[in-house]
């Protein structure tokens, strides 16, 4: 009797069924995945789901989609049965979707970061284990999530347009892909803007500028979508279309990375290395541009003579802009950065220019432009040699003004960046010069070089309507146009080629002292406490000695 009672009191647990085990495994995987999600993404998703702004935007999106569906179908009328009106309907849905994606999501990203700075929650976040790149990734992740929600909300409408005929699925996907990429790029720009200042009045100014820019981007996206819908028929089968897209997307990836790292650098602690990742990205962009231009020149364009000009021009602008920003970096390296300096001979020769500092930045920009010039020079020599052996369809123009244009462009950029750097060094004796002020100085120096001879022209009765003269030697734009505007080098071109490179060399030599001072920085040892902890951590990671279990072990 007693044994029966005891038995009845024992709870018998049934073995979990297969679906239960499966669900438990899914649950564990979800917990594991959730743990590894960016904390900011988790927090902002929780916030967004409760926020009024998201609910209103989402509701408006659905409402507009619904209204446009009814209105569009009413306007199409009986044509809906036999016409091909999908493209027109799609355009309406596109407008409804493009507004939140090009205006609301990027502005939300800006406000999210700017708001954290205003409420000082950013400070609390920054002293956790979250790095600046994690913070930017989290904010971007949140923007992507919003984009996906808006896209999914409008997707039934987009499927409806496909069923109406007149637009194919690849076109819909292509336009949505580019709209999403545009939204992502605008979001990273918004985040970068959010890092620029924590002062309220500047944030208001930035908000206004950003809103204006985003509305402009919305208008442009509208225009581009219209053009794409009109012109995109049949291009998906052409290889050139995909090549052009691949080129665009690599360029997009390069500039996206640059903006991303710039935003992360803005959030980095002052003693951190804010520059090296950006410089590596610049070099990668240089290599990508060179690669695509070389491919374009050799294959589809078959030696088109304008391409080297375009290449040199793009590269010159790229390195001048990057150089103007790099010359604003502080010449002092923190001990934290010095701990990571390259120390091998090859490392010091090739990687020193990736270290933070205005001198190394100037050198990197000059080296980049010189590399582009040498690449063009070598390519021209190579094709001249090829043309001797296989002259059939190739129309390479190796003579003319390509190289003089390149040499002059390189010299002008070296001269102006160097001159700007000298002015910045002078200013630094009296005040703190940050990156934005330094870039402003660089622009002003260039504008002075262009503006002074132009003013003299305008004030003089002799020169008022005159063509180019050597008085414009400090104006790089007119001088370069004058050189490139004709098949052979004009008489002033020889003078320019004699003077401008010399002036560039002089300015470069004047900057050498500052560059050498930065190059002299050498790696320093870790502080004792850091070395101690690294040793402790390394000891934890080392696997224990294997225990012998048999004589053969």
């Amino acid at each position: 009797m007693s044994s029966e009672v005891e038995l009845s009191s024992i709870e018998v647990k049934a073995a979990p069924t297969a679906p239960a085990r499966w669900w438990a495994a899914v649950d564990r995987a979800m917990v594991w995945g959730g743990d590894r999600l960016n904390p900011i993404l988790v927090k902002e998703t929780r916030q967004a789901l409760k926020s009024r702004q998201f609910v209103i935007t989402f509701a408006l999106l659905l409402l507009c989609g619904w209204v446009w569906s009814i209105l569009g179908v009413a306007m199409i009328g009986p044509d809906i049965w036999y016409g091909a009106q999908g493209a027109d309907m799609f355009f309406g849905y596109y407008a409804i979707l493009a507004f939140p994606l090009t205006v609301i999501v990027p502005f939300g990203a800006f406000r999210s970061l700017a708001g954290e700075q205003e409420d000082r929650t950013y400070e609390l976040m920054s002293i956790t284990g979250l790095g600046p790149r994690q913070i930017i990734r989290g904010k971007l992740g949140s923007a992507v999530l919003q984009m996906l929600i808006y896209l999914s909300a409008i997707s039934p409408c987009l499927a409806f347009t496909y069923m109406l005929r007149g637009i194919d699925a690849p076109t819909i996907l292509f336009i949505l892909l580019y709209l999403s990429l545009g939204s992502l790029a605008l979001s990273v720009i918004g985040l970068l803007a959010g890092t620029l200042t924590s002062e309220k009045h500047w944030q208001v100014v930035l908000s206004v500028v950003l809103i204006a820019g985003l509305f402009y981007a919305f208008g442009m996206s509208f225009l581009l979508a219209g053009v794409t819908l009109a012109e995109l028929h049949g291009v998906f089968l052409q290889p050139e279309f995909w090549q052009a897209n691949a080129a665009f997307l690599t360029g997009y990836a390069g500039y996206f990375a640059l903006l991303f790292y710039a935003a992360a650098a803005q959030l980095s602690f002052t003693s951190d290395n804010r520059s090296t990742r950006l410089r590596i990205t610049m070099v990668v962009q240089h290599v990508l541009l060179t690669g695509w231009m070389a491919w374009l020149w050799i294959w589809p364009a078959q030696g088109e003579e304008e391409l080297p000009f375009v290449f040199l021009m793009f590269l010159g602008i790229h390195w001048w802009v990057m150089g103007a920003l790099m010359t604003g970096e502080s010449p002092e390296l923190s001990p934290r950065v010095k701990r990571q300096l390259p120390q091998s001979f090859l490392g010091r020769v090739f990687l020193t220019w990736l270290n933070p500092g205005p001198g190394t930045g100037y050198m990197l920009a000059v080296s980049g432009m010189l590399a582009g010039l040498v690449t063009v020079g070598m390519a021209l020599m190579l094709v001249k040699w090829i043309a001797l052996w296989s002259p059939q369809n190739w129309r390479f123009n190796t003579a003319g003004t390509t190289l003089p244009f390149g040499i002059l462009g390189f010299s002008y950029a070296t001269f102006y960046l160097g001159l700007g750097l000298l002015v910045i060094r002078l200013l630094r004796r009296f005040t703190h010069v940050g990156i934005l002020l330094a870039a402003l100085v660089q622009v002003l120096v260039l504008l002075l070089g262009c503006g002074v001879p132009m003013i003299i022209y305008m004030l003089s009765t002799y020169w008022y309507d005159a063509d180019y003269s050597l008085l414009q030697i400090t104006n790089p734009f007119w001088s370069l146009m004058h050189v490139v505007d004709r098949s052979a080098l004009p008489p002033e071109g020889y003078v320019l080629l004699a003077i401008v490179p010399l002036a560039a060399l002089l300015v470069f030599v004047l900057n050498l002292g500052g560059i050498v001072r930065e190059v002299r920085n050498v790696r320093i040892a870790k502080p004792r406490r850091v070395a101690e902890e690294d040793a402790e951590l390394a000891a934890v990671k080392v696997p224990p000695e294997p225990v012998k279990k048999s004589p053969w072990d």
Binding site: K50, L124, M125, S126, G129, S271, S334, R336, P527
Partner: protein, 322 residues
């Protein structure tokens, strides 16, 4: 082996904002398990020093270390060891108490059960477990202070820097916060705390530093600082102790007698009581009492008021604002 490395150390710390010297050559060290009270008037440089320790600001010169790591050069290592509670709340809208603490636990890279345990432990310690679902921006001041303390504790740091943790709280909440801090210190945390409520600091601090116009004026245990002030008084630096004497009859005569004594000032006769300031140490006070009795006064009470931390603070600082 005894660990002699200070958990918090400021070495010749300077921080200038233009011509203002917010922190001017401040050096001190706090050892493991100590509670350091940082006292000073508004604008003295307390918050600036604390922000530098929390790696939110950079010193103009000098350095500060947490557990031997420089806040300038190794902020990432410092941040894992430090919990900072600033003088503002930093709450988010549309986030409840649990989500708020969970976010910071995630931000400190706590995963899985460690994160869940950390949030539960902190909510339990701060008494916020009953408010887990309440939005953070709807909490009362006291609850927000608890939430901020919880946030600073979420990754179980060895060092806590608390800037005015009891500011604006009612007496009960202040006592509760004080108890929490004492309990944290008893558990081996090293704490740097600033407060305007000096009596509270005197109760919970092992060491006190008085700062004014960016300069550290005095430092040591509360008793040592009081002793220093007494010695300063004895050396005739113009700082006095309040003494009250009660006599049976002859209070006026005692007043006249005292007026002739050196080191006595600000005499007040009130009935049988005579109050005055005495610029001398305890021995001098004892001599004065003996002389009083020998002069025939029937002394029934002689009280020398022991200086409180507030008295010391008032004596050491001059109330100058930058």
């Amino acid at each position: 082996m005894i660990d002699t490395r200070p958990m918090i150390e400021l070495r010749h710390l300077h921080r200038y904002f233009g011509n203002t010297r917010a922190v001017d050559d401040v050096s001190f060290a706090v050892h493991r398990g100590q509670v350091f009270g940082y006292i000073g008037p508004n604008g003295a440089g307390k918050t600036t020093s604390m922000r530098i320790l929390a790696s939110l600001d950079l010193p103009t010169a000098g350095d500060a270390t947490i557990d031997g790591f420089s806040v300038v050069n190794d902020p990432d290592r410092v941040r894992h060891r430090l919990g900072f509670m600033p003088d503002y709340y930093g709450t988010y809208s549309n986030v409840n108490v649990y989500e708020y603490l969970d976010f910071f636990a995630r931000a400190y890279q706590l995963r899985g059960s460690r994160r869940v345990d950390a949030v539960d432990r902190v909510m339990d310690f701060t008494g916020l477990d009953v408010l887990a679902d309440k939005p953070t921006d709807g909490l009362s001041k006291g609850m927000k202070q608890r939430l901020c303390l919880g946030r600073a504790l979420i990754h179980d740091p060895a060092v806590l820097v608390l800037d005015e943790p009891a500011a604006g709280l009612d007496p009960r909440a202040r006592i509760e916060v004080r108890q929490m801090i004492r309990s944290l210190a008893d558990n081996g945390k090293t704490i740097l705390i600033s407060s305007h409520i000096l009596t509270e600091l005197a109760e919970i601090c092992d060491v006190v530093g008085i700062i004014e116009r960016g300069k550290l004026l005095a430092m040591g245990s509360v008793e040592a600082i009081q002793q220093q002030a007494q010695e300063k008084a004895a050396s005739g630096a113009g700082i006095s102790n309040a003494v009250e004497v009660r006599v049976l009859g002859g209070a006026k005569a005692l007043g006249q007698w005292l007026a002739e004594q050196p080191e006595v000032s600000q005499l007040q006769v009130n009935g049988e009581a005579v109050r005055f300031l005495h610029a001398g140490n305890l021995e001098a006070e004892a001599d004065l009492l003996r002389a009083m009795i020998e002069a025939g006064f029937r002394v029934v009470a002689f009280g020398s008021k022991r200086q409180t931390l507030e008295d010391v603070f008032m004596q050491v600082t001059q109330g100058l604002v930058q």
